[in-house]
């Protein structure tokens, strides 16, 4: 069965030289795709989780009584929202990477930084998407009526408790559609990690079509299909969550 599958693509490549689906019949190229997919999944997963955490914490700090905390959050948002993510990525890896501690490798020359290029990709992409998430959660928080928060504090809830137990659950529902959009964008932005040589899906695909120019169209097709599926799964999960947390009569 699988034999026939790869045989078909061998023949297809013979008959149509621009449609060489090399990764469907050469195990080495297939291994590259699999490795790339693993990295893309890992990046997407880590960045989605981290950026949501940053968003939740940031939105809470935005209402902090301290003027300076509020200003710091505002500064963070302005910096990360108003600069291109690709530039941030290069800046983090090449500029900040200089100042992080590193371990000298066994050859006595190489310096293996504590934060690898994958690490920097996760950090910079999470902070980038996190800046948007803070604003997204703020819109949700502002939709929670003041009276609800006052009622909570009248019942003896602390500021933190009110945020975690009352405001956030309600705010989440309102924020979900906008959050959904931002996370979809984040998953697609992970391809920019190619700039610092993270071997994710785009990196592997570019390598394959460089090694085999005849595989250009098939690898691009594969890229599109992979991201459609990946984003599709994310969107499906998010809308399921949206439905599960719906309160009839509240926020649509």
């Amino acid at each position: 069965m699988l034999e026939a599958f790869s045989q078909y693509f061998v023949e297809l490549a013979d008959n149509y030289p621009r449609w060489n689906f090399i990764f469907f019949y050469e195990p080495r190229q297939w291994a590259r795709i699999v490795k790339g997919l693993q990295y893309t999944l890992m990046l997407s997963f880590a960045c989605v989780i981290l950026s949501v955490i940053i968003g939740v914490v940031g939105a809470w700090l935005q209402n902090s009584p301290s003027k300076w905390v509020r200003r710091c959050v505002q500064g963070y948002i302005q910096f990360f929202r108003n600069t291109p993510p690709f530039v941030q990525l290069l800046f983090f890896y090449f500029a900040l990477g200089q100042f992080t501690p590193s371990v000298t490798g066994p050859d006595g020359w190489t310096e293996v930084p504590i934060i690898s290029n994958v690490g920097w990709a996760i950090i910079s992409l999470s902070f980038f998407a996190g800046a948007f998430n803070v604003e997204i959660f703020r819109s949700g928080i502002e939709a929670v009526p003041e009276s609800t928060q006052e009622a909570a504090s009248a019942l003896g809830f602390s500021r933190f408790q009110t945020y975690v137990e009352v405001v956030l659950p309600l705010a989440f529902r309102v924020s979900l559609p906008a959050l959904n959009n931002n996370l979809v964008n984040l998953v697609k932005t992970t391809t920019q990690a190619i700039g610092i040589a993270v071997p994710e899906l785009l990196y592997q695909c570019v390598s394959i079509w460089n090694d085999y120019p005849s595989a250009l169209y098939p690898t691009m097709l594969l890229l599109f299909v992979s991201f459609i599926v990946l984003v599709g799964i994310l969107v499906m999960g998010m809308s399921r969550w949206e439905r599960a947390t719906r309160i009839p009569g509240y926020g649509g």
Binding site: F5, W19, G108, A197, S214, L221
Partner: protein, 280 residues
């Protein structure tokens, strides 16, 4: 499921059939005519490959290949416009008509000839080597096994050294990033064309580095016209001008103008194509 997948791919392939099989028919000389009509030729060159193609302090692209392109444009009596291309997109740029001609340090490989019209004779050559810190004292390619080596997306030898010597190539999109990563000690070497490494080393910016290995896979460079015009006016014209530049020694002249170490390749070509009357 499988059958529908087959149907889809077959349909896709069939739709491309017209474009892939079309070129064999006859010469329409579209690109050549377009260039002559508008009086301007767009040439794809490197902008990060000193001194073949690089950015001058005022931002314009200069270098040996740009001079070559200028000579071509002059012979055709058209204006020259250069477009910076990357190793990983140069063939696509030519295919899609974003550039009319590509002179971009490209190694002439069999599979590339199926995509773009690489014309003979080749105009230069280079092999694969590494730039590594003197401190590490590499002697053989085998010394690199299992070690991280910075590379460049789009170089054909990334795969070659990976498979032959088990090198772990970490490929960046640009030369600058890859060399910065080497300086930052994120990899033990930078694998690239020996010609480019040679001129980097002689620039004095890489004092503590060397090119310690024997070059491998010496591979001539090819300039390319659109595949459909390889055996038409444009392709024949480019073959002719390249031949003449070898014979007249113009390429050797450019080599020394840009401070490139004289290569045996260009000297051999000049001798091989020598005018039999001039030799009398």
């Amino acid at each position: 499921m499988k059958r529908s997948l087959l149907a889809i791919t077959t349909a896709l392939a069939a739709s491309l059939l017209t474009t892939t099989a079309g070129y064999a028919a006859q010469c329409t000389n579209d690109t050549w005519n377009k260039v002559m009509e508008r009086g301007k030729m767009v040439v794809g060159v490197k902008a990060d490959y000193k001194p073949w193609g690089f950015r001058d302090s005022d931002g314009s692209i200069v270098g040996m290949e740009i001079d070559f392109a200028q000579a071509v444009a002059d012979a055709m009596g058209v204006e020259l416009e250069t477009v910076a291309v990357q190793s990983s997109n140069r063939m696509q740029f030519l295919e899609q008509g974003k550039i009319d001609l590509m002179i971009a340090t490209m190694s002439d490989r069999a599979d590339r000839r199926e995509i773009v019209g690489i014309v003979q004779p080749n105009y230069y050559t280079s092999g694969t080597n590494i730039m590594a810190p003197k401190a590490l004292g590499f002697k053989n390619w085998e010394d690199l096994r299992g070690k991280p080596v910075c590379g460049k997306q789009g170089a054909f030898y990334n795969q070659v050294v990976t498979e032959r010597y088990g090198v772990e190539v970490v490929a960046f999109t640009g030369n600058a990033e890859a060399k910065q990563a080497l300086r930052d000690r994120k990899c033990v070497a930078w694998v690239y064309d020996d010609s480019s490494i040679g001129s980097d080393l002689s620039s004095g910016e890489f004092e503590d580095f060397e090119m310690p290995l024997a070059s491998e896979d010496d591979n001539p460079w090819g300039l390319a016209v659109p595949l459909a015009e390889k055996d038409c006016v444009f392709g024949h014209f480019m073959s002719g001008i390249t031949f003449n530049m070898h014979q007249s020694g113009k390429l050797i002249e450019l080599e020394s103008k840009w401070g490139i170490q004289p290569t045996k390749y260009l000297a051999d070509k000049k001798a091989a194509y020598g005018d039999w009357l001039a030799a009398e």
